[in-house]
Amino acid sequence: MIRLVPRSEAAPLLQIATPVLAVLATMIAGGILFAIMGYDPVAAIRTIFWDPLFGPAAGYSRPQLLVKAAPLILIASGLAVGFRAGIWNIGAEGQYIIGAICGAAVALAAYPAPEMWIFPAMVVAGAAGGWAWGMIPALLRNRFGASEILVSLMLVYVAQRIAAWMAFGPMRNPEGFGMPGSRNLQQYPAAANPELIPGTGAHWGVVAAALAVLATWFLMSRHIRGFHIRAAGLAPRAARFAGVKPETLVAFCLGLSSALAGMAGLFEVAGPAGQITDTVGVGYGFTAIIVAFLGRLHPVGILLAGLLLALTYIGGELAQLTLNLPAATVQVFQGMLLFFLLGFDLLTRFRIARRITA
């Protein structure tokens, strides 16, 4: 018989080992799934995890890594701060959409002015839009005690419909021959979020993601606010005793994560996506939740996890092209990864011991 014994000391090695184990387990389980579906499991795993970096088409796919990872890391850094405090912003996808819409609105209003201030103003508008959308669940929780999980999630569906309305209505491109969707911002230099160094995929969103990792690392490890956030998540009464106001913390965490999500939306719409469409939300807000957990809610972990999940996106697309694997494979992979991660997490909190027998 085995049993679980709570650990009194953190085990730093396991903190790193469990995500790796989870990734390996996901590969094995995924391979089994592919075999059942009639694909060559080794080829599929190689296509998803290896080929984007080192395969024949790596020249095209490598820059994509940063493009896909940037929004994931930007959003996840903010979410992780809230998750540490037990504040569950599940609606980053909605904040991302609203941020994209608000940022694009600045550009579309200014079009075709060439001024330098336009892009910075878009960034501010994107962050502010996301922040405002995130303050709705924050206010409703603080004022009425409504669950921020459910409210932020409902607002994703609302945001998706606002995006659809924008694409078909107010923001529709007047020169788009009646097609839904806004003007393409990539073709509007003052508003575009271009590739900064050719061939790397690095745009302003990548810079912002790097800064977000640094800033949240500093917040969580060196600043008293970060300390209070960690305390509130582990022992809410102790945090209150220390002087933390729960309402302030809710507003701060939701505000921070939604502003970052909104910014991610703006960088996307001004760069890789280019325009507001009814499908402007592509699920980064949800995948970022997995990134946050896979990164163990730690900024550096999130950086690595974001790159890994970006890899699965690119690998998934590649597998779709070369192996004819369904697009949803990536989604299943990501869900499985989170399952395994949560399971292996047990090892960091408990020791497994043999039951002592007489």
Partner: protein, 295 residues
């Protein structure tokens, strides 16, 4: 008058998926488990039920398969939360993401297929609608009058005390999670088999999350769940009516109504629960907490 009655019948149909899912989640939560995976279990049920109905030609077998699939897909969640002591919020989210992905992956062959016809029950309503209505008093009776229901409530209210009295907290909770999954599966299948009559990716469109909100709204009672489901059904029907009547509001904005209504209801009920102390029956005492007994 006739039109009002017809509207009411439409409301009954529109509320059925949420009613099933929310009743299942009610039982799960009364056992002290918060399962945020309702959306994932619903979509898996929607697909499994549809596929089974299509292959057997019998919609009722479809619903049975949906219940089974919903219960099965809930098992990883049960294992994570009950044996591996994983965080319930995160595990529920994982279940939703996994279920959505799984259904999208296996649903490809079902796209464009039509559902087999179902013979309607009394008043021209689907039999499953009647089953849902029957589940309300059944679950009420189970929770409030039966011995098993008392034990389940005890486990949800104070798992340490239940353990100290010798009840197997894990077993009760796993059973409740599986039941919640089965009910969510049936709710999802109602959308694919009886409402939309085909399979499309992501077709539950947040119904699982609305069900979660309705459990809060119900103050954790079965009649309250019925009221919440009807309220939601009413908003949906009204919104569809307005669309059909060609109101000069964009369709996209009208279709927000159910989600906005859910937020409003959630806020109203949370405020009441927050400000009315000792009002009978609030959230189960151990809801969402891990249970680990040293032996």
């Amino acid at each position: 008058m006739i039109d009002l009655f017809a509207l009411f019948l439409m409301l009954l149909s529109a509320s059925t998926p949420i009613l099933f899912a929310a009743l299942g989640e009610l039982v799960t939560e009364r056992a002290g488990v918060l399962n945020l995976g309702v959306e994932g279990m619903m979509i898996v049920g929607a697909l499994a039920g549809f596929a089974a109905a299509h292959h057997t030609g019998n919609p009722f077998l479809g619903f049975a398969a949906a219940a089974l699939a919903g219960a099965l897909i809930a098992l990883p969640f049960a294992a994570l939360t009950q044996f591996l002591l994983a965080n319930q919020v995160a595990s529920g989210l994982a279940l939703t993401l996994f279920g959505l992905g799984l259904a999208a992956l296996f649903g490809k062959p079902m796209e464009g297929v039509k559902a087999p016809a179902m013979s309607p029950g009394p008043l021209g309503l689907n039999w499953i609608v009647w089953l849902g209505l029957l589940m309300v008093p059944t679950i009420w009776w189970f929770l409030n009058r039966s011995r098993a229901g008392l034990i389940l409530r005890g486990v949800g209210e104070n798992h340490d005390a239940a353990h100290a009295l010798g009840y197997d907290v894990r077993r009760v909770r796993i059973a409740a999670i599986a039941f919640g999954g089965a009910m969510a599966g049936v709710g999802g299948a109602f959308i694919s088999i009886a409402t939309v009559l085909q399979w499309t990716e992501g077709m539950t469109a947040g119904a699982g999350w609305i069900a979660l909100a309705i459990v809060v709204f119900s103050n954790w009672t079965a009649p309250g769940v019925l009221a919440g489901a009807w309220l939601f059904g009413g908003v949906t029907v009204l919104q569809l009516r307005l669309q059909a009547a060609g109101v000069r509001v964009p369709v996209q904005l009208l279709s927000m109504a159910p989600y906005l209504a859910t937020i409003i209801v959630l806020v109203a009920i949370s405020a009441r629960q927050k400000y009315s102390r000792r009002a009978g029956g609030t959230a189960p005492g151990s809801l969402g907490q891990d249970f680990h007994a040293l032996r």
